[in-house]
Amino acid sequence: MSSNTQPTLWKTEHTVPGRPVFGAQHPPLSSKLLNKKPIAMNTIISKKKDQEKFHEYAINTDDAWEIDDRVMTLKMLDNDSKNGHDNDYPTQLLGISKQTVDEVASRVIQEHKSKSQSNKLTIDASAVRRPVLASHTSSTTCPGIGRRIGDYPNIKPLVPIRYANNDDHNNNNNNNNNNNHSNSSLTKIIKTNSRPNLITKLDIDIQKENKFKPIFEQTNIDLNELRKASWNGIPKQYRAQAWKLLCGYLPPKIERREDTLTRKRDEYWSYVSQYYHTRTESEHQDTFRQIHIDIPRMNPLMPIFQQIVVQELFERILFIWAIRHPASGYVQGINDLVTPFFVVFLSEFIENDVEIENFDISSLPEANRKIIEADSYWATSHLLEGIQDNYTFAQPGIQYKVRTLEELVKRIDEPLYRHLKNQHIEFLQFAFRWMNNLLMRELPVRCTIRLWDTYLSEQNGFSQFHLYICASFLVRFSKDLLREKDFQGILLLLQNLPTHSWTSNDISILTAEAYQLKVMFANAPRHLTS
């Protein structure tokens, strides 16, 4: 991101102890090279540059943004024009000007409009939904085949059979209804458009799929391209493969894949036969006891996790990992981190993964279960590699991250920071869990999975980008927290933040905000201090 000729700026007087964590991808320069004046200039230049880049990025990846993101942005703009002085907030937040948003929005709308007109289509929601429902009974279309909007009259399934999700459609209708209350001129354009959001949403899903299709058709997958595309969320039918690639588990070269996977899966199972029986030995029995206590209570509300076969699968993965990583061993919370991998890798084998929560895993051939288990093990290992200091003695990684988060929040939302401090809230009291479980206790699993699309696409997603996500996440509830006037009220809210109805769109917003923070802090740590 920073060019070689342009010095990257680093705050020299850290109030946060430790290294400049924000810039792992932006090699910090010696402070000797810097003096006051260039700092100011470079800050402006790099800031501008980053904004341009973000702008460019937003345009390039425009089709990957879900419609609701835009609607959300429009709503924010709308609210702010009503609220007066808060006016700068969303544009500042997203790093794009209102004008840009306007342009992009109307361009997309125009595009869609012209397409639908050229096809002389009058599609309403029910007309669209019918083929989707019908597609459940049809099994002729392969998953992953994208459809352009103009194809509607000829082609039955709008979304791949296995991934039709009626809930999403309902949500979308609700969003649509909500938007009707808005007065924004932009939302009015959307409203007056003959095509409802539903179709636009599907269109965007399809565009997303179209983006992934060519990537996966390559015999040697371009990981950078995959990362770029995955950052904004991966379509379900590509997710398992994409995650394995992004973990460095699945080789990008098609001819190497089968051999590598076979070897890795065999390797895992050889660990199991070699070590798993030692769980009852005195050396390891405490580890196993802890795992055995934690597994049944992992996801108490999801029936699939009550199945013994699933619980044993998790126990093996965790025990093998723990004894192969004695520096940390098993720490409560690591069990949660296996869940997204398990769910995503399992979904590859399920006809309609909407019902994954109730899926009877014993109906799956043993060979497939073994594949899911081995793949989950390796993916989890990859994830933990980057954050192992979260779990070693005294959990230094977490302590450091919590302090850094505190510093970040102090800079980006001073009133909130002061409020928390005035009420004697310690960040460790709530953010420990955010770091230890990567926000999995604060978010529904579907949101975690979407969030991990981004984490896996980032260079140090789980260790560093997560910090910016945590900061955005906290600030998201700033108003609610400021409303709570005492220690009890604040802490109880922080322990139970209202995210149960969150969708992947909320995560998309969160990632966009976190990206903005990352850009600001990576190149201009002083940016918010003066």
Binding site: P300, F393, A394, I398, Q429, F432, Q488, G489
Partner: protein
């Protein structure tokens, strides 16, 4: 979420003990009258409050539920600061959780205030057929160590109220007596949070809050 803003005393109490002994369920039973057979493991600390009446005084208990796994102790011990009471919980059906009680006592001695009021709690008393820790044994152990003892069941609610009431009342007695001795008037209801100073000459003036 109901919050009682008026109280005469605010006491910080910690729940400690091995993983899986039922600390979180004791807390949810006492503060919300809820029980979950499979509640998620506690990560770090969790927090809840409830107020009770003792001698016509309102005592607000601020209860901190800690994670049981050993790895967390380096961090959770920070939460002992300012605690005036500790419920040390074990599972009557799992003898090893009782064996570890000594280690937990040491943990408190090392990290908590020396005047902290401790109560030993044998939870899961409903699991009669699985009992592996005799009541008498735990009782004599507690006497030897100068702590109170009670058996509870968060599942069927047995003695849960009692356990919290006992420890809070005991703290209240100590605090109100000390106040008389120190000629300090009753603490005014409302902020800052008042925790009875265990060392009135030093801590009270330096740090009048409990949640540091």
């Amino acid at each position: 979420m109901t919050r009682e803003d008026e109280y005469d005393y605010l006491f910080k109490v910690v729940l400690i003990g091995d993983s899986g002994v039922g600390k979180s369920n004791l807390l949810s039973r006492f503060t919300r009258n809820e029980f979950n057979l499979e509640s998620k493991s506690t990560i770090g600390v969790e927090f809840a409050t409830r107020s009770i009446q003792v001698d016509k005084k309102t005592i607000k208990a601020q209860i901190w539920d800690t994670a049981g796994q050993e790895r967390y102790r380096a961090i959770t011990s920070a939460y002992y600061r300012g605690a005036v009471g500790a419920l040390l919980v074990y599972d009557i059906s799992k003898h090893n959780t009782y064996e570890n009680v000594e280690r937990w006592l040491k943990e408190l001695r090392d990290h908590a205030d020396s005047n902290i009021v401790i109560s030993l709690v044998g939870n899961k008393s409903d699991l009669r057929h699985l009992r592996s820790v005799p009541s008498d044994e735990a009782k004599s152990f507690s006497e030897k160590n100068g702590v109170s003892f009670i058996e509870t069941s968060a599942l069927d609610s047995t003695n849960v109220e009692q356990a919290f009431h006992t420890i809070l009342t005991e703290i209240y007695r100590i605090v109100s007596q000390r106040q008389i001795q120190d000629h300090i008037g009753p603490i005014s209801p409302n902020p800052p949070i008042h925790l009875p100073p265990t060392d009135p000459d030093f801590k009270s003036r330096q740090n009048p809050t409990c949640c540091s």
